[in-house]
Amino acid sequence: MSFYDPVGRIDPDAIRAAAPAAEGGLPILLGWFCGRRRTSLRPSMREVAVSNSLFKTLTVTPIAGLESPPPRPCIFLLLSFSSTDNQAIHTHEYRSFHLRRNPIAGIGVLEPRSLHIVNIGPDFRGHYGSFSPESALPWMHLPAKDDLAQKESLRNLQDRAAAQRLLASSAEGFTVDQLAQLVGPGAAEYTSELENLYMKMILKLEGLARLVEKSSAAVLEQENKNLKLRSRLAGLE
């Protein structure tokens, strides 16, 4: 229970802390979700109350400068996981709901809605077929025959620095010049360069993976410590 209490009331401060506020007000929320293992996929009494409080609490002040009021948080996603005894099959179930206000009763009613999830597999080939790649790197000029033709303007230098920073985020120690050589008719001579780039990218990835691993281990350790403290407090030890 992070932002609500046992009877389902919202703590706006907790929401403000969790999501950076929009201009001068509370953040715009679409809804919330709840994951609980091995339980029925029906909203519980508290979840119904939380959805209602979210809907009511976060829509009081319209944001200045916006013509229409922000959308009310009205989506609720319920997730449940279970697995067989031998851990061979893991089941992830989900159901989505849309909170609609009942005009007579004045309370919101959670209505089930179908949820379309785009996934990998033959059924979704269309989604991948329509994919067009986009690169953040700048357009590489073909190496000019006449060096004088391309003047090193200040603007050009700035662009290059930005591109270099971008490249450094995925491969360490590879220059834009080296990358530029890989484009154009002479590229075939630079296969070793390509391998070099690849190697550097992998090194970078490995470094990142190690960082993630370390921080995950730290988080897990802290979680275990917290759990032990809570258990001790509850007299379970």
Binding site: R42, P43, M45, N52
Partner: protein, 381 residues
């Protein structure tokens, strides 16, 4: 199946408190853990007694947060039951807020064993109101009349039932006889208050054809069976055009008489058991409160056996059932050899207890020879 881990002490104490202290027969159906490899379980199905039946509530605790209050998922047909929101019939924000502030969820304290008990009873009270409201919304003149005339009685529960195959029905459960049955029995052993209910099920017909008669049934709490069985009571017939407010007084009169008789019958059974003593000797064992059973030791020559008497609530109209049990012969499982129940001893309800005892004694003198042979046959060679 991997067995589910046990419930942590904080939760099991609360459950125990609920099951022991409630006057209603709550039950726990299934216990499981939400997490694999967890030391403790933290979810269970609670069967909540309602309308002489049970509704299933899924109670969800979190073993990783032992101090958090539980949450409840209600049955699929009770989606409109939203106890944490203002009730539909114009309960204002302030009233609902005041109600919530009194609720045990507001100040949840996991270390207090009565927490779950309080929560479940609060919610059950709201559930009874919720079902009343649902039935109140049914457009049926007879039903509206029944409710307006009968709801002044206390403790009535109603519910709207609809199955996929059946049409809709409304069930009324009316507690009968505003008296403490436990006080009627001397040295009463019942811990829970015993009650008799009338269950009336009205079928709802869409057409305006003649309204069908309701299905009527008497139901009693389980331990009352020792005193008398409601199945033995002949229900007054439901005349066409009748309503419950008319039906109940005559039924309650009949029941009152039956209970008086049933209490009298205890005395009759006691006198019979006492009359057996001069012939059979003092009983080895006898039910001192309802006098439904008595066991005597009998000897013929070198053969000793036990005689078990069981007396029905209809005694002396119904004769006692006798079972003989050898104290010398054992079957292959090591259990003592027993006769099948004997119903054929000479009997008349008009005889005096002494005569009843003498006739049974004479009957057994003849019967025991046959029983000895039966025992020898039953024993493994």
């Amino acid at each position: 199946m991997v067995p589910e881990p046990p419930l942590p002490p904080l939760i099991s104490t609360q459950i125990k408190h609920l099951l022991v202290h409630s006057h209603l027969p709550f039950r726990i159906e299934q216990i499981w853990s939400g997490c694999k490899n967890s030391r403790f379980s933290d979810r269970f199905t609670l069967l909540v007694p309602f309308c002489l039946d049970y509704v299933k509530w899924e109670v969800i605790y979190n073993a990783f947060f032992p101090f958090s209050a539980p949450d409840i998922v209600f049955s699929p047909e009770d989606e409109e039951f939203r106890p944490l929101l203002p009730a539909i019939d114009g309960e204002g924000e302030d009233e609902s807020q005041a109600r919530l502030m009194r609720s045990s969820l507001w100040n949840w304290n996991s270390k207090d064993p009565s927490m779950l008990f309080n929560l479940v009873h609060e919610l059950r009270g709201l559930y009874v109101q919720y079902q009343r409201k649902r039935v109140g919304q049914v457009d049926d003149t007879r039903l509206k009349f029944e409710m307006s005339t009968i709801f002044s009685r206390e403790g009535i529960e109603v519910c709207l039932m609809s199955g996929p195959d059946k049409s809709e029905e409304v069930k009324f459960v009316v507690p009968l006889l505003d008296l403490d049955l436990n006080k009627r029995v001397h040295a009463c052993p019942w811990k829970q208050e015993q009650k008799i209910f009338l269950q009336v099920v009205f079928p709802l017909s869409r057409r305006h054809s003649p309204t069908p008669a309701p299905h009527i049934k008497l139901v009693s709490s389980s331990q009352l069976k020792d005193l008398f069985s409601v199945e033995d009571i002949k229900l007054p017939s439901w005349v066409d055009g009748m309503c419950m407010a008319e039906y109940l007084p005559s039924l309650e009169d009949t029941l009152n008489l039956q209970i008086l008789k049933a209490v009298e019958y205890i005395g009759g059974r006691r006198r019979f058991i006492e009359a057996l003593a001069p012939k059979f000797g003092r009983p080895l064992e006898a039910d001192p409160i309802f006098c439904r059973t008595a066991t005597f030791l009998a000897v013929t020559g070198a053969f000793t056996f036990l005689v078990h008497f069981s007396l029905s609530t209809q005694f002396p109209k119904q004769q006692p059932t006798l079972i003989l049990q050898s104290s010398q012969h054992f079957n292959s499982q090591g259990a003592p050899v027993m006769s099948p129940p004997l119903h054929n001893c000479p009997w008349s309800p008009r005889w005096s207890p002494t005569e009843m005892a003498e006739r049974i004694f004479d009957f057994l003198v003849k019967e025991c020879i046959g029983f000895k042979m039966y025992c020898l046959d039953a024993v493994v060679p």
